[in-house]
Amino acid sequence: MHNERINLDLGEERTCGLTSYSIPIGPTHPALKEPIRFSFDIEGERIVGVDIQPGFAHRGIEYMGMRRNLIQTLYLSERICGICSISHPLTLVQAVEAAAAIEVPPRAQTIRTIIGEVERIHSHLLWAGVGAHELGFDTLLHLTWNVREKVMDLLEQLTGNRVDYAIPIYGGVRRDIPQEKAHLAYEALEYYNGILQQLIDAFLHDKSVEMRTRNIGVMTYDQAIALCAVGPTARASGVKKDVRQDWPYFSYADMDLHAITPEDFGTDAIGDVYDNIIVRLLEVAQSIKIIEHCLETMPSGELQSIPKVPALLAALKKAEGEGIGRHEAPRGEVFHYVRLEAGVEEPVVWKVKAPTYSNLMPWVPKFLGDEIADIPIIAASIDPCMCCMDRVHLVDSGDHGRRAILQKAELIKLSREKTRRVCG
């Protein structure tokens, strides 16, 4: 990924005349919460070109996972992302369960759904606060994060941890949500039902927020489709795309779910930052409803299909096959691929694709034509997570000092060569 040149023809001319200059943003910059490098071509205050260089947070986590047994890999997967720390394990367990054909009891499915949705509430509120800070509206940041404390408390009460909840295990969940704890969840949900309208007022009916976000960072419906945007980023452009709706898993199939777009707010989807705020705040409301539904219809029964860990490990060691897992994380679709071989404790292949990876390219049309002052909020609008996303780091071993920039054609050629090598 390093040094990749992003040069899309998106109807915007790159006019690098004499008056344009370039400013670097990142790898470390106050607008960025995680390292990535942008290089902007600027004319006056207008952005006429953007170059994105990821690859600063690559930890080789898939490699590490392929050298641990599957249960250790599960805990490792929780460390891929610190914000959506349940999304990766939830996806990995789906992939492994598909590969090893492990059944999951319905109560465990429901508990997974609940924790996933509680996490969505905290993640979206966190994003809203960060967005406010990027706009220079710190009051709103502190307000939002103050409100977010309640859901963090709920997560701690339900799972024992504020982050890294360690709830899913292959074939079930590790902790129950007993009746005496359900009222805590109801309490928190009531609190958010009450406060959500205030949040919507503070963000969506505030003149100064609207001035900074309306028609800023626009990605049209067609661009969102062409660039394969996922999650709220795509939905803000009016793309009705949501894994929970399109490919129901856990207990989502029992619910009447639809992808939230700005139309649900009564406005047309423009695909700007304002629409991103709409989608995320309305999804908080949606999550509240989902959790309520889950708590009301919680099935009774087992938590795990194979309760003993040694038995589970033995079953996984015997398993052979491949599987995929998909989960709608707060930022969009997470995808895991796992291949298991009999007699091997480790996953032979573990491939992780985080939503930010799909949402990198939408940055380009979003940035072009806007101003320097819009860079922080546009960068934040896709809710980027670099350490989720960084999977590749090109190291130049042969040609010392030469910086390689690989275009799509070369990448396809390289991957075909590798396929031939592997198969042949």
């Binding site: 200059y21 370039s22 400013i23 670097p24 910059h29 106050p30 607008a31 205050e45 406010a132 800070h133 990027e134 706009l135 220079g136 509206f137 710190d138 009051t139 709103l140 502190h142 307000l143 103050n146 505030d206 100064s208 927020v209 001035m211 900074r212 101003e371 320097i372 002052a373 819009d374 860079i375 922080p376």
Partner: protein, 332 residues
């Protein structure tokens, strides 16, 4: 002015020291109160003093590509200009130390010098962030100077009609000694109110505070003009900022609310001075609270084109309307 040179220097030192302390205390109050309004605890009131001391002992780094002498000179120019402006502004209910002839215009220019100094310092740093910050500062200066000038000149013009010919109406001391509120009729009062409001809107822009902190914009350009400044140079800018807070606040207090309490309580001598200074501090705080603290808590940062539009259209219109009302008041 019949102050001896020795006395003037002594008083000047006292004013600068006092205003410096006052500015830092108000900066502390600003941070504490803003934090409280945002649901935070906030730093202790003394934090700005710690900041200055810490910056003073820190290393002073000059970037390799910077124009060294210009880069180092500009913080001094900025502080010197602000300190000079301070001596022309009525403080604590007393007449200003310097002045007497047209110092209103001088103050107008002295208020522009710190911005110009920061701009030059930013360009001298030759960092892309500082350059963008400097460009933005330049546009900001062009935006808010017009309503500011209209307001100040309008006041002086109205006073020139009210006072006998030959009075020094462009002197801040004379303006503060003859508050216009009682001179003009009802239309004039409305006009004065409009001018007051436009000056209150100009204040946060003059001080580069949210929503007008565009030249520094932390999340966008990482501190902008100040991005490359560190150590002693940054401390000088910090002090100049604190002094500028006192200058702008005192200017508004002096022009629009110059009243003292000593007359009401029929006090004289030392007690009168003490009461007036205390009341002045309260007035200054009220101005700072309304025009800086509340505003910066309640708004998001604007963009540079939005700021220019705001100052050139509504705020200029506001001050023009005030001026017209003042003129009409004389005719009616």
């Amino acid at each position: 002015m019949t102050v001896s040179i020795g006395n003037a220097i002594w008083q000047g030192m006292l004013i600068l020291f006092g205003a410096g302390v006052l500015g830092l205390v108000y900066k502390g109050l600003d941070r504490k109160l803003a934090a409280q309004m945002q649901g935070r605890i906030g730093p202790p009131l003394r934090q700005p003093f710690f900041d200055v001391i810490k910056l003073m002992v820190k290393e002073n780094i000059v970037p390799d590509k910077a124009v060294g002498w210009l880069f180092n000179l500009m913080p001094v120019v900025c502080l010197a200009a602000t300190a000079t402006a301070l001596l022309y502004v009525p403080l604590g209910g007393f007449a200003p130390l310097l002045g007497g002839y047209g110092d209103l215009i001088l103050v107008l220019y002295l208020l522009a010098v710190p911005s110009l100094a920061m701009m030059l310092g930013g360009f001298a740093a030759s960092s892309p962030y500082a350059t963008i910050g400097a460009q933005r500062e330049m546009v900001m200066l062009m935006s808010y100077e017009f309503p500011l000038a209209i307001t100040l000149v309008g006041l002086a013009w109205r006073l020139s009609i009210a006072l006998p010919a030959g009075s020094q109406v462009f002197s801040l001391g004379v303006l503060a000694a003859n508050p216009l509120w009682t001179v003009v009729g009802p239309l004039g009062v409305i006009g004065l109110l409009l001018l007051f409001v436009s000056l209150m809107i100009v204040t946060p822009a003059e001080l580069s505070k949210i929503p007008f902190d565009i030249p520094e914009a932390e999340t966008e350009i990482a501190g902008g003009i100040l991005a490359e400044y560190s150590g002693r140079n940054l401390a000088l800018f910090y002090l100049a900022d604190a002094l500028k807070l006192v200058v702008m606040g005192s200017l508004i207090v002096g022009l629009f609310i110059p009243y003292g309490l000593s007359g009401i309580f029929e006090l004289t001598g030392f007690a009168a001075g003490l009461v007036d200074v205390a009341f002045y501090l309260v007035k200054l705080f009220a101005v700072v609270f309304v025009s800086v603290i509340v505003v910066r808590v309640a708004f998001a940062r604007l963009k540079i084109n939005q700021v220019t539009r705001l100052f050139w259209l509504p705020v200029t219109a506001l001050s023009f309307l005030g001026l017209i009302l003042l003129a009409l008041d004389r005719i009616v």
